[in-house]
Symmetry: D2
Subunit: 406 residues, 4 copies
């Protein structure tokens, strides 16, 4: 287990930190102060275009994507870079073309897309000329059990016909969004996990109705295309729009999840680090009852515990990334599930303590903390709630222990 940063990672991290300091943080503050043009409804602020251009110029582009189509970094190499972008989650990932859900969508297009699909969708996504969304969760069923997914993708002649209701389709309200990847049921027979498939649905296809944006703890994420509720009524796409094989929906989704979880977790750790930084700065300057907050035992305990929790989580994520690179996502399944469980909870705690150290400012729009909290908390539900992962990991651990004892 060697988690040390190699030369390339170190060089990219330095470059990225420079970009953050010189471009991203100033832009973030201009946005927060209301000085920057907020842009079209649900769309990105115009300053994002400049940030993207600068990131490309600096060679900080598509870093998330291994292989020929992207920067070619391993998961372990990209992880520390994802952490740095997490310090400014509204702008940095998008500026580097490394923002979810486009990253996952590009991954599966690179992985499972036909040449035609890649030309039509992957190329412009890699160029940030268009954005995409991923339609999986449904309001009408308990989607934490993915086999419940009820949207139908029925083959009729040379077309697939999509019917159903999806929500929390992140990014779909953006005027830049041109592609929806939809997971739906293509078969009523066979094993429960082989009945679903993914189809590529252009946003303008007749029958697609984007109804509204869903909020997360009061945040609409309007500058990222929000989280849409979408109605699919007899939506027809050519069979060539199927991604991969019929029935391969969950298999592709799984491939999408592994790296995505590492990215999410590392970005969360970036938020946690920034929260600690903000908390320490605040604690050093505020005085109550005759003592600086920084000199109060309770505050010191929070800061210490934050440091320990962050360090534990980072090591856990790096171990998962290291194993994914060496043995593949499937072999690292337990490690991936472990970070999905551990990291959002730890970061939620760290950010909550930073909020508390800030008092009223902490819950307000003047600091990114309340938003960080909402992101961390929501990630304990997205991609399957904590409980599903705990039960699944626990079941496998019990099986493994029993096998070892037998």
């Amino acid at each position: 287990m060697d988690f040390a940063h190699d030369e390339r990672t170190r060089e990219l991290a330095d470059r990225l930190r420079g970009f953050m300091a010189e471009h991203v943080h100033p832009a973030e503050e201009a946005l927060a102060r209301g000085e920057a043009d907020p842009g079209p409804e649900w769309g990105p602020p115009p300053l994002l275009a400049d940030l993207r251009a600068e990131a490309r110029r600096r060679g900080l582009w598509n870093l998330f994507l291994p292989g020929e189509h992207g920067a070619g970094l391993t998961t372990l190499q990209y992880a520390p870079l994802a952490e740095i972008t997490g310090r400014s989650p509204r702008l940095a990932p998008a500026a580097l073309n490394c923002a979810a859900p486009d990253t996952g969508n590009m991954e599966i297009l690179a992985l499972a897309g036909t040449e035609d699909q890649r030309r039509r969708w992957l190329a412009p996504l890699l160029d940030a000329r268009i954005r995409s969304a991923f339609a999986m969760t449904e309001p009408d069923v308990g989607s934490s059990d993915a086999t419940n997914i009820a949207t139908t993708v029925e083959r009729v002649g040379a077309e697939y016909v999509v019917n159903g209701r999806k929500w929390f389709v992140s990014g779909a309200l953006s005027p830049e969004c041109e592609l929806l990847i939809v997971l739906g049921r293509t078969s009523e027979d066979g094993p429960a996990r082989e009945r679903h498939s993914m189809v590529l649905v252009p946003t303008g296809t007749p029958g697609v109705t984007v109804r509204r944006g869903m909020s997360q703890f009061g945040y609409s994420d309007d500058d990222h295309g929000g989280h849409a509720e979408i109605l699919f009524e007899d939506v027809r796409v050519p069979v060539a729009n199927l991604l991969g094989e019929p029935g391969s929906g969950f298999a592709i989704a799984q491939a999408r999840l592994g790296p995505g979880r590492v990215h999410h977790c590392m970005r969360l750790l970036g938020m946690a680090e920034r929260a600690v930084e903000l908390a320490c700065a605040r604690a050093a300057t505020r005085t109550t009852f005759g003592r600086r907050l920084a000199d109060q035992g309770v505050v010191r305990e929070w800061v210490a515990e934050s440091r320990v929790r962050i360090d534990q989580c980072r090591l856990l994520v790096l171990r998962a990334a290291w194993r994914m690179d060496r043995e593949g996502n499937r072999a690292a399944r337990d490690e991936i599930q472990g970070i999905k469980i551990a990291v959002p909870r730890a970061v939620e705690w760290v950010v909550d303590r930073a909020v508390q150290i800030h008092g009223a400012a902490g819950v307000s729009q003047d600091l990114p903390l309340a938003r960080f909290w909402a992101i961390a908390r929501s990630l304990r539900i997205a991609d399957g709630p904590d409980e599903v992962h705990l039960r699944s990991l626990g079941r496998r651990e019990i099986e493994r222990q029993l096998a070892a004892l037998a």
Copy 2:
């Protein structure tokens, strides 16, 4: 310690539940679905006027206020009614003219106001013809130590001149808001807790600039007048606008806090009860991995623990109310601090579990849960963060134990 509801409380509670079912919940749903007129920016939705009229008609008006000016209930009698209103915090308290911060402001006007001040401000507040705000917290100092408050209220001839910056002035952005009660420093001498006073500042007074609304975890509370940042620059009011004696600011604030904390806590418990109700309904209808959520051990544990925590908190609040009624707010100081510590944390936990049971719906605007959470979490900071109260209560407990051992 007799916490049983007496006849009058039982009768009012029944009447209030009827009003909630027939008027408040339907209005709440109309608002949530976007079918009701949202009203002016930062102001209440027009349907609130109808609710107020109906509440008056039903004798459900000013229930919070003891004594001749209000309904004359004791704290213990009002507590269960406050809990019921907490089930719909956006509408019910306002519909009954029992919403903070107006309640606290009416209390101190009734308590410390001159006859003239009461005629000018209390009467229209009791009638809900105007709204008011309370300007205490400041962005530039650690306000959890109230002696830090730096806004100056300087006597110059026959006027007081106010200079300073306040924020989280709840309700001040409402077009209905006509009165700001401002806490500021009137003296540089004397004991630290006798240097501040309260002055009544009409919202239109020159030098008052309402800059913006502060959000709490993404919620602006725009239909309650928000939480304003306000600049006071050489704001002049006649000396007759002083509330009580010079230097009595903290003493009056203290009087305001006791009942206010009982109200806040009981409303929070109403939110918690509603959260449990929603969670149970959801758990009974959702199925994942072949079992209803209601049949899963983890969900049952959450529901059971929610029940126990709520019951413990309610008993604690009722004990505080009972003691306040019998021995006065000062004697019940420890009990009041105890509920300030215990209740928001417990309710935050209960609501968080209800969110988790709902999955994505729980964080969204389709249910009141995420908003409930933000209210509970913010109350762990408002009126002094948990830590200030824990330390203060701990100090007195240690002193009491040592005195008993001596």
Copy 3:
């Protein structure tokens, strides 16, 4: 809900506090310092006889037992007295003849015993001439599901024949113990909860082998007769030794549990109060890093939170007692389960913090804290582990909520 102490309770509490101060605490210290005669193996120290005589003289005898056979107090009247005895759990309950498991055994003999059984067993127990034990838990099955209990009590002619293995039979190693009340399966048919019965087995009956004492976190409770493992091999008792009806085992056990849980919980709160008292005394006298522990924020927070948790628990227990007295144990089922869940956990936390404040002394035999901790922790398993109660209470809460919504 009126939880106030009435005149009789107040008078008895005063009397009991005098007894504790003048007799129990000095005896406890003599024992702890090794100055008192430790008595026979597994039996009580000789000084207990003097304490018992003094308690009787002061009218502090059999206070736990309602009705004609005991002091005739209600559960609510006895509860505060049980709390006081909890401050010295090794001596005070036994000194007042109010120690488990004898109390529960006397209750069920009073309730379900024949006149003959009462004469033979209840009378000497009320007089503290003998001790008794209750054999329920079994090592070979998951006893938290009581229907698993596998010991057989088979009717053969005019006798019952007992076969099985029990453990954690508290008190059974004492030389004073003359009666074992054994729960076993008397039928293989009928509803699962009506197949078990209780029989009275004199300790000397052939076939009864007391194998060893079980420890709880290193404590053998040797001066209370320990916690025995007992083998029953073809143990024969006359049919007249059946307690109540055949198949009534669980019904009687249930009757035994209600008051017992109130007693356990109140005694635990007495331990918690003593832990806080000790912690405050320590915090006031120890200095580290230039400050008294009592002046450190973390310690103050622990003390404050201890106070709030204890108060919440006490109110919850009093509510349960109040309801049991008014509506019976069955009606108060949820309340009883609520305290079984809430109190041991809270007391464990409070005692753990007191241990931490004391450092090394806290874990040692010089203070009662480590023992208190072991008692509280073990009570989260005894009488059914937390999880069983949480699930059961949660299930009923969900049912009640759904019924209310229907």
Copy 4:
């Protein structure tokens, strides 16, 4: 950061696992069942001598000690071996001559001892011909602030005269213990952390009175020489018995602590792993309410969370060991403090859940779990309570953050 096990570690770990399976676990069970000779009061069971001989034969001897005197392993190499010994903490560390406090004592003798001191004490310790103890904690002062230590070590002519009272001197009651290393105050002047020194005091020296053994949650650790309270009254040793320089007491203690904390933490993780193993085996075989424990959601969650917590802790400890090896103990100060904070708490939690899964058996002597719990809990106090480490780490983190921002 490369934490992978190298060839030598892998080979030793395999060998050690064989030794555990073939010798240690059988011996442990014989002891627990009372079949083995328990040995002299406070001394080791006779079977330990055989285990030691076998361990030497297998080349599993003094593995903890780097450098020429020991096996020469790095901290990172030894760490996984220490974890394995933690699975049987009563026997395995002693069998390998790797048990505290002898390990720390050997380390400081190797590091700071004169040639004469090493010949006289280190050689027989390395051979396990004698045992030693470390007398630091005092009952009369808050020893968590080590500068409080009040025992005096006064130079009088050619001798040092020791006066004071120590307790929790682990191992000192053993008949094999021949050496006490005593930390005391040698100077009243100079910096607070340079006033103390260590002296070597043979156990038989006049004026040394071993008064009694202190227990930890009911455990006396009688087969390891217990935890003694010792009185030093005018105890005289030659000046040649000073360890290192006058005033170097804390510096040497610090050197002792670093590796000791890694060892403690890794052994704790071994206990945690064994607890999980036992819990899974139990969960697979017990059925309550119609389902195996292993199939209940709550149990699966506990097992999963145990796995994640253990893995996080192990990575954290390995990182600390890795840094100690590369940059020295001083440079790894924060990492060492981090593991001291994180590991005992996590292991306490894991073991507590394993206890709960076992029900009554879990708290009893039939399983090692209750003892594991007491070890983990006591380590949150030994070597400085959690709070001291949290505050110290928090202070340095705040300083580092501010330096980075400046």
